[in-house]
Amino acid sequence: MTTVQPEAVTLAATLSRETLRFMYERMALIRAFEERVKALMEAGTPFGVAHFYVGEEAVAVGVCAALRPDDWIASTHRGHGHCIAKGVDVRPMMAELYGKATGTNRGKGGSMHITDVRVGMLGVNPIVGAGAPHAVGAALSAKRRGTDQVAVSFFGDGAANIGAVHESMNLAAVWNVPCIFVCENNGYAQSTPTEYSTAGEIWRRAAGYGLPGELVDGQDVFAVYDAAVRAVDRARSGGGPMLIEARTYRYYGHSYGDDPHRYRLEEEERDALSRDCLARFRAQVVGSGQLSEETLAEIDARVAAGIDEAVAFAEAGAMPAPEEVATQVFA
């Protein structure tokens, strides 16, 4: 039941300008958000632990472009990209990093716990693999309540080795719930190369659960989108779960402060950069005449303004009152 990567589709040509603009804007927003966070940290802003998604934008955006606002996603520790792709407002996101009461989580969660259930974002989750069962549960909820929502579990190549992810795939298959598993294989779990930690290929594990598995180029938003659309259609119409492995790359270290050159070669990084998702997108849509340079520049400007606004919003917010340390333990 497994299929290898489908022949390249010239999907871009069939997409509406609206979809293309959405893809570009969301990818650009993720990158701009994180570049700003990184710059702020470099300038000494004492944000807590943060993991950057830069380089992997096409995965989150390709998948979320195939979802409806009322669909669910469950994320990983590297969650900014998933949040933005699913539509979380960058202002309270930024405020959350500042630990402000105006943050998505009232400052209680930080980068590793950003959540916005109103847009179907069930939580950034820094316990590796822990989000996968949540997506299965959300999919079960959709099925049981008779809606046609679907749920997506994002997880890393490292997470593919933890029991919770394996149990989740089997459980989703057994219950036949509309859950799509998206493995973001960026080649590393911290400093551990995927080829060391993961015996066998991840997408092939789907066969063990009787599920279709598919490998896509995670640097190509169209390839991701194409696979996601098919998986979502299938799940939404009762066809059950599937696994997509997207090969991608993180440009920076595992988390802020980590030097990746201790475990990977610069030529590998250069190679990944040469397949940058934003650059490829730009070249493709401008080349085909679907979006103009001006349109992209407009979007870039809007994105930059949005980030400025997010920082201003975050800085203007108040820190939570000290008493809040003990509130909301119970509902």
Binding site: N105, G109, V117, A135, W175
Partner: protein, 369 residues
């Protein structure tokens, strides 16, 4: 023996439902659990039951095979016949997966009841309980509620008088409630009678927080008592004075409440009137009721089936040694199971948990007897 005595006690004692006297049918603890779930599922279509073999024979209805198991304590038996496999969901053996899925479902519109089988199995899903379910509401700044109930059986056997054989041993007899009660954000209750099992379980199901219900595997089939047919709730977070007394307070948790009641009855025969407090809610802990009792008894023995270090018994003692120090006339005694794994052999298991005899020895030591 402790149990027979105390089962009788709880039918007629302070824990019995005032409204139910004489009229409510007698049920076992397990049957009361079953009734609670059934009534709530009728009321609320978002309730689902999740666990291994909670129905049984999954996928074999076409062969006439259905309702084959009913969970490890058989307390979900029959539910699949009324509510179908869409609401009574058998799972593969994947505790982390299905508990996490129940949590995900609780975040997105369902109100799941998970049957984990044995408290011993929390080892296979502790992350989803401790790091996920318990913390979600706080960590997400109040955006989500977690209406999740997790049922677990616990406990070793009381002394059986057996001269050979044994019980369920180290990995299927634990109590372990300390490692649940420790966690901020989890409510943890240990019902002791059929009556309060039903009332606390319904309260847990309706609560918007994750609640763990610990059901003693020995009480399940044996503790019987009057249980009104209609749904009712008992407050989470409240202890219960199940026997009044003026001379000493015995604080019992779970099956140990029955042990305390038996000890109290034997002490009464010798003129010593022990008040028995049934802790019921391990988190939050109702220290006020305990302090109130100590206020007039001035003495406290806490009896806990869990092992001692970092136990609920120690927390009760510590709270009273702080907030109630000036009330006390004597050292606070805590009685726990032996600080060891649960042994298999009947000869050793008999020594393992606190008994009425041991409670009486502790009480006597306080009175210098």
């Amino acid at each position: 023996m402790a149990l027979q005595t105390s089962a009788a006690t709880t039918t007629t004692g302070a824990a019995a439902p005032p409204a139910a006297t004489g009229r409510a049918p007698e049920l076992t603890f397990s049957a009361a659990i079953n009734q609670a779930i059934r009534e709530e599922m009728r009321r609320d279509p978002t309730i689902v039951v999740i666990g291994e073999d909670v129905a049984g024979a999954a996928g074999r209805a076409h062969l006439g095979l259905v309702d084959a198991w009913g969970g490890p304590t058989r307390s979900t038996r029959g539910l699949v016949l009324e509510f179908g496999p869409e609401r009574v969901l058998d799972t593969p053996i994947s505790e982390m997966g299905f508990l996490g899925a129940a949590l995900g479902a609780a975040m997105s519109g369902l109100r799941p009841i998970v049957d984990l089988g044995f408290v011993d199995l929390i080892g296979c899903c502790y992350d989803q309980l401790v790091n996920q379910a318990a913390k979600m509401h706080y960590m997400m700044g109040g955006q989500v509620t977690i209406p999740l109930t997790v049922r677990m059986s616990y406990g070793a056997r009381p002394p059986t008088g057996q001269t050979v054989g044994g019980g369920a041993a180290a990995q299927h007899s634990q109590t372990l409630y300390a490692v649940l009660a420790h966690v901020p954000g989890l409510k943890v209750v240990a019902p002791t009678t059929a009556y309060n099992a039903k009332g606390l379980l319904i309260a847990a199901i309706r609560d918007d927080n994750p609640v763990v219900i610990l059901e003693h595997r020995y009480l399940g089939p044996r503790a019987r008592g009057a249980v009104p047919d209609e749904p009712y709730t008992l407050p989470l977070g409240k202890a219960d004075v199940v026997r009044p007394g003026r001379d000493i307070t015995l604080c019992g948790i779970g099956r140990m409440t029955h042990v305390c009641v038996e000890a109290a009855e034997r002490l009464a025969a010798h003129g010593l009137e022990a008040e028995v407090v049934d802790v019921l809610s391990l988190a939050p802990l109702d220290v006020a009721t305990i302090l109130e009792s100590v206020q007039h008894t001035k003495r406290l023995v806490v009896v806990d089936e869990d092992t001692p270090t970092c136990s609920v018994a120690h927390t009760i003692a510590a709270r009273v040694a702080d907030e109630g120090f000036d009330l006390l006339d004597a050292p606070i005694k805590t009685l726990n199971s032996v600080d060891a794994p649960v042994p298999y052999s009947a000869a050793l298991e008999a020594e393992y948990t606190p008994t009425p005899d041991k409670v009486i020895v502790a009480v006597h030591s306080i009175f210098g007897m």
